[in-house]
């Protein structure tokens, strides 16, 4: 457990020193979302209707941006060998990095999501419900994205392959997340989001750990 927390600390230190990846994801989120009013016109009615969906989709795309560096950077400089030899199972190494991704990308996206939604003319009183769906949503982004990042590690063209694996797996999360953000009685949508979490919480680190071992073999 001490080693596991040490690995999460390591991710935070590295994210702080190499802040570019996290900041780039955040900037992409804000800029991509602000393109919609330019393309669709500033009509409040149209924007309000699409705002939750736009925030969800753009947050998903932004969360994918740093994923190919999540394991890739450590894979290229040999650090991943040392992480695998740190005395905890490969799945725990993968899980620590997934948590690191959520803390350095998911949490900033959550914080930025409120202002971005208001920029898209979402009513202020609808923002908390949107953020409530994005909390399990960003966790799912990190779990599924981390798994995809580990699977494509070392593959030729992994940068292209990664979203092709991750995005289809995200479709259920986007459906129920965006629906839950606007539903007046979103119990079933939240149940589905947490059901997805219950599936990927054990599955993603296990699969990612196996993929890391295979990538280093």
């Amino acid at each position: 457990m001490k080693i596991f927390i040490g690995l999460i600390r390591r991710e935070l230190v590295l994210a702080l020193r190499h802040a570019g990846d996290s900041v780039a994801a955040l900037m992409f989120f804000v800029i991509a979302a602000s393109l919609f009013p330019f393309a669709l016109g500033p009509s409040a009615q149209a924007l309000t209707r699409i705002a939750p969906g736009v925030v969800w989709v753009v947050a998903l795309l932004a969360a994918l941006l740093p994923l190919n560096r999540l394991f890739g950077a450590d894979y290229e400089d040999g650090s991943l060998d040392l992480l695998m030899l740190s005395g905890i199972p490969a799945s725990a190494v993968a899980f620590a990095k997934i948590i690191g991704h959520w803390l350095t990308t998911g949490v900033p996206l959550l914080i930025a999501a409120g202002p971005v939604a208001i920029m898209l003319r979402l009513n202020g009183d609808a923002v908390p419900q949107l953020l409530a769906t994005l909390l399990p949503g960003t966790l799912l982004f990190s779990l599924v994205g981390g798994m995809s990042g580990a699977i494509t590690l070392g593959a030729r063209g992994g940068t292209i392959l990664l979203p092709l694996i991750a995005l289809p797996l995200m479709i259920p999360a986007v459906i129920f997340g965006a629906a839950g953000a606007v539903s007046s009685h979103p119990v079933s949508e939240f149940s589905m989001l947490f059901a997805l979490l219950a599936v990927f919480f054990p599955l993603a680190p296990t699969a990612a750990g196996a993929a890391l071992r295979a990538a280093l073999a």
């Binding site: 001490k2 190499h18 400089d77 060998d81 040392l82 695998m84 030899l85 280093l216 073999a217």
Partner: protein, 215 residues
């Protein structure tokens, strides 16, 4: 008169490899590799490029599974529990695993919760303490190698796995590394090293890979 308890023979092998084989890609890089190392022992892997020296070191670290043979630690299969086996080895691969954006000291702190004294001792062991606050991207390749070797001082593992440890090192650094290896072995540590350059490990065994025994 009761006989005194027979002490364990000092030369009991701690690490034993039996008929190990590994493939990389589609190619059998080595097969039928056997050796045994007692506490304090050293094994030098020699052979041409591509003979599988790095593959064998990665296998001994538990990073890659063997396709045949077994690796025994105190008579038990070492690779049954990779996280446990990982605590027994300190692996310095051919890559230095250094983050260029961090200072020399922070690179060492990245691997665990060390005290300042421990990190300083590790830097002194490779004579890098004048560069402690320097970003690692400013280090020369030999200094990067020394920083990678500084991790040995932070490890309590009984087995060092060194992949070309002397690449880029100047003569003084090589002698310092040899002295550290000798001190480590005197305390019962074991070393397996792959190297093309001369590395003076007294009474080391040699294992020649490649050449005639590849298929």
């Amino acid at each position: 008169m009761p006989e005194p308890a027979v002490p364990r023979p000092q030369n009991d092998p701690l690490l034993r490899a039996r008929a190990l084989a590994a493939i990389r890609g589609e190619r059998l890089v080595f097969h039928d590799v056997s050796f045994s190392l007692p506490p304090g022992g050293a094994l030098l892997l020699v052979g041409p490029n591509g003979a599988g020296k790095s593959s064998l070191l990665r296998l001994l670290a538990g990073l890659t599974p063997p396709i045949a043979g077994e690796l025994l630690w105190k008579g038990e299969n070492a690779l049954d529990d990779p996280p446990l086996h990982a605590t027994r080895v300190c692996f310095v691969g051919h890559q230095d695993a250094i983050k260029p954006g961090l200072t020399v000291t922070d690179n060492l702190y990245l691997t665990g919760r060390w005290t300042n004294a421990e990190v300083l001792a590790a830097l002194v062991s490779v004579n890098l303490e004048p560069f402690a606050a320097l970003p690692a991207r400013l280090l020369s390749s030999g200094q990067r190698r020394r920083l990678a070797l500084a991790r040995l001082a932070l490890s309590a593992a009984p087995l060092w796995l060194l992949d070309e440890p002397t690449t880029g090192l100047d003569a003084a650094s090589v002698r310092r590394l040899e002295a550290r290896c000798a001190a480590y072995r005197a305390e019962g540590g074991m070393i397996v090293a792959a190297t093309h350059l001369p590395l003076d490990l007294p009474a080391a065994q040699y294992l020649r890979l490649g050449g005639t025994n590849t298929q």
